[in-house]
């Protein structure tokens, strides 16, 4: 009934972990966020006229919580807390990060902020489709362009039918 056997059958990651990262920045980031929320909370009324608790209390609690948790995290990291990347269905947590693939996918996610309004959803979605496919190692971009365009147009018409406000098809041409 020992549990060690279960550990070996679970997942395929090798036992030798790479040097454990020391992500102090996460703890510090949480503390900064907590401070912002705390500051905003103090700027709001803590007590309303008849109720004992005003709109500020929960903001203050959330801010204080993040601040304390960030500090605890920093302390834990300094004491050698380990962080192992999660395994996903198609991802291996123990492999090194592929920076190019990550950045390509990130551009695909950031792209809509600028193009969704002026160039429309089908165009934006097609472009993002090609970028993500490329990040995952697809090298036939012209084929992805076709796939992406078909999917984006089909989705645009389908969801439009369902009553979603997706904007114009291709705003530069006014359609």
């Amino acid at each position: 009934m020992s549990t060690d056997e279960r550990n070996t059958t679970e997942g395929g990651s090798p036992a030798a972990a790479p040097a454990s990262p020391k992500p102090y920045w996460i703890g510090i980031g949480l503390m900064v966020m907590g401070a912002v929320w705390l500051y905003a909370g103090f700027g709001l009324p803590q007590g309303a006229r008849y109720a004992a608790v005003g709109p500020g209390l929960f903001v203050t609690v959330a801010g204080a919580g993040l601040l304390v948790l960030g500090a605890i995290l920093v302390l834990q990291i300094s004491r050698g807390e380990t962080f192992e990347a999660q395994d996903a269905e198609d991802a291996d947590g123990s492999t090194k990060m592929d920076k190019r693939a990550f950045l390509t996918a990130l551009v695909a996610v950031a792209l809509p902020i600028g193009t969704m309004g002026p160039l429309g959803m089908p165009f934006t979605a097609t472009l993002s489709f090609v970028l993500v496919a490329n990040a995952f190692g697809s090298r036939r971009w012209w084929l992805d362009l076709v796939y992406g365009l078909i999917l984006a147009c089909a989705a645009w018409f389908l969801f439009k039918q369902l009553g979603l406000q997706l904007g114009r098809f291709f705003p530069p041409l006014g359609v």
Binding site: A52, V53, A105, V109, I113, L162
Partner: protein, 495 residues
């Protein structure tokens, strides 16, 4: 007796042709996304939330329930044939199921999983049928104090149970709570943390956060650590389904798995991971064939798969009776109710019985559909795995983008998608649990309203929060949940 009448009425709703069609759509979609990597039930329902504007609530919830149940059925298929558990709930299935598949018994493993899911799903739905009205009856007497205590306990257990450490669980929870306070305060109309931005006044929608964390975060993460060597699919062609002996070895684990899964699913934080693990451990202890465990024991598939499905029904009890979500999927379902202006809870049972009982009846119908869809047609479903990964993940981003943009056509939502998506990436790299963010986001505002109502009624005296027996017990439990592990550690260190 009354329950029977209501259930019969529910069947008359669920068996209407349109609702049958939506149940089928949900079941097919659920099975498909259970098989496909990178997309689960919570994300699918979130992406479909916009259809709530065009669909009657009963039809929409019947479809969503099909997705919830269907994903549990579909998840087992990849675990068994490919050894790639899609969700945490199918991890245990992969252990024995894939060994069975590699030993040429894949068809039997799939059959025990599907039939076990059906048995568990049906029994658990039966339990839901009788438990839900009883709990709702009790909940009529709950005061804001009690509701606040329930949410406080849910917060603690979610943060403690999910994830690798309590600190990380609470970090996720508080991130959710912090996002939840953004926007106009519902009680005083005061803008909070909007930084003068008009678009932030309406707050940050659960859909945006969920889609960003689950879809965008996952795409960024998998892209950065993509496993290019695909798994080898075990063949099932021409194999026998279950033999008599397989049945004899499966039926008890099915029932035990149900008995574990249903109540555990109803508890906040346990999700489907803990009941399946418990069921696996139990079957391993009770089996007459201990030598087969780790090499493909059928009990190790039957039990966890049953527990998995029973837990899916279990989460509906607190959701429908108290409006309390205990998992990411339940959080989206609650958001769907809110989209319709409905608040799940005891009053929904009296004000909208057609919806509640139609939904419950559709669960019975959906289970039958799923058994038929999954058992004979599994060969068709596995073809879905032929979709090449680059185009699959690219497609998921397209739908994510539509889901976010379609909400309000706001570039602010798209910016939030980028930021929260990056956060989802970081959470995966440093192993922070994701579900507590969503629970905090949707339960935070509810906890705040209950807290403020309770305190206002008690004229500001904080003792009002423990003034009813139930609230006192629940708050004590929450404190224990927090303090106990620390105390135990101290005691052990001293001993």
């Amino acid at each position: 007796m009354e329950t029977f009448e209501l259930l019969l009425h529910g069947f008359s709703v669920a068996l209407q042709p349109t609702n049958l069609m939506w149940a089928l759509v949900g079941s097919v979609l659920g099975t498909a996304i259970g098989i496909l990597p990178g997309i689960g039930p919570a994300l699918t329902i979130a992406l479909l939330l916009p259809v709530t504007t065009a669909l009657a609530p009963t039809s929409a919830f019947i479809m969503f329930a099909g997705i919830l149940y269907g994903a549990m059925y579909g998840g087992s298929t990849t675990s068994i044939l490919l050894n790639t558990p899609g969700e945490a709930g199918s991890m245990m299935t992969a252990l024995e199921g894939n060994k069975m598949a590699r030993a040429g018994r894949g068809a039997a493993a799939l059959a025990t999983a599907a039939i076990g899911s059906f048995v568990a799903g049906t029994i658990a739905t039966l339990a839901l049928t009788f438990a839900a009205p009883a709990v709702a009856e009790l909940a009529f007497y709950f005061k804001p104090t009690d509701y606040f205590a329930i949410t406080a306990l849910a917060f603690c257990s979610v943060a403690v149970v999910m994830g690798t450490s309590r600190t990380r669980g609470f970090v996720s929870l508080f991130l959710g709570i912090a996002i939840g306070v953004i926007g106009i305060d519902s009680m005083t109309g005061q803008p909070r943390l909007t930084f003068g931005n008009m678009q932030l006044l309406r707050g940050i929608a659960l859909t945006v956060v969920l889609v960003s964390l689950f879809a965008v975060g996952e795409i960024l993460y998998v892209a950065s650590r993509y496993r290019t060597t695909p798994g080898v699919m075990a063949p099932i062609k021409g194999q026998l389904w279950m033999t008599k002996q397989d049945f004899a070895r499966s039926w008890k684990p099915w029932l035990r798995g149900t008995a574990i899964g249903f109540p555990m699913g109803a508890l906040p934080g346990s999700g489907s991971e803990i009941p399946t693990m418990l069921s696996y451990t139990l079957e391993r202890k009770l089996t007459k064939h201990p030598e087969e465990f780790g090499k493909g024991a059928i009990e190790g598939v039957a039990g966890p798969e049953a527990a998995n499905n029973a837990a899916a029904a279990g989460i509906l009890v607190p959701l429908l009776t108290l409006g309390l979500p205990t998992s990411a999927t339940a959080a989206v379902l609650l958001a769907a109710f809110q989209n319709y202006g409905l608040q799940p809870g005891p009053f929904l049972f009296t004000s909208n019985p057609a919806l509640i009982w139609g939904l419950i009846a559709s669960l019975y119908v959906g289970n039958v559909m799923l058994l038929v869809l999954n058992l004979p047609l599994v060969g068709i479903w596995v073809q879905l795995l032929r979709i090449p990964r680059p185009q699959l993940y690219a497609g998921i981003l397209v739908f994510a983008m539509i889901g976010v943009w379609g909400l309000a056509g706001s570039w602010m939502d798209l910016t939030i998608m980028l930021v929260v998506g990056l956060a989802g990436y970081v959470m995966r790299v440093y192993d922070f649990p994701i579900a507590p963010v969503l629970i905090g986001l949707i339960l935070g505002p509810m906890a705040e309203t209950q807290l403020r109502t309770a305190l206002a009624a008690g004229q500001g005296n904080p003792m009002v929060l423990v003034s009813t027996p139930l609230s006192a017990v629940l708050i004590t439990l929450a404190v224990l949940l927090l303090a106990l592990p620390i105390l135990l550690k101290r005691l052990r260190a001293n001993a």
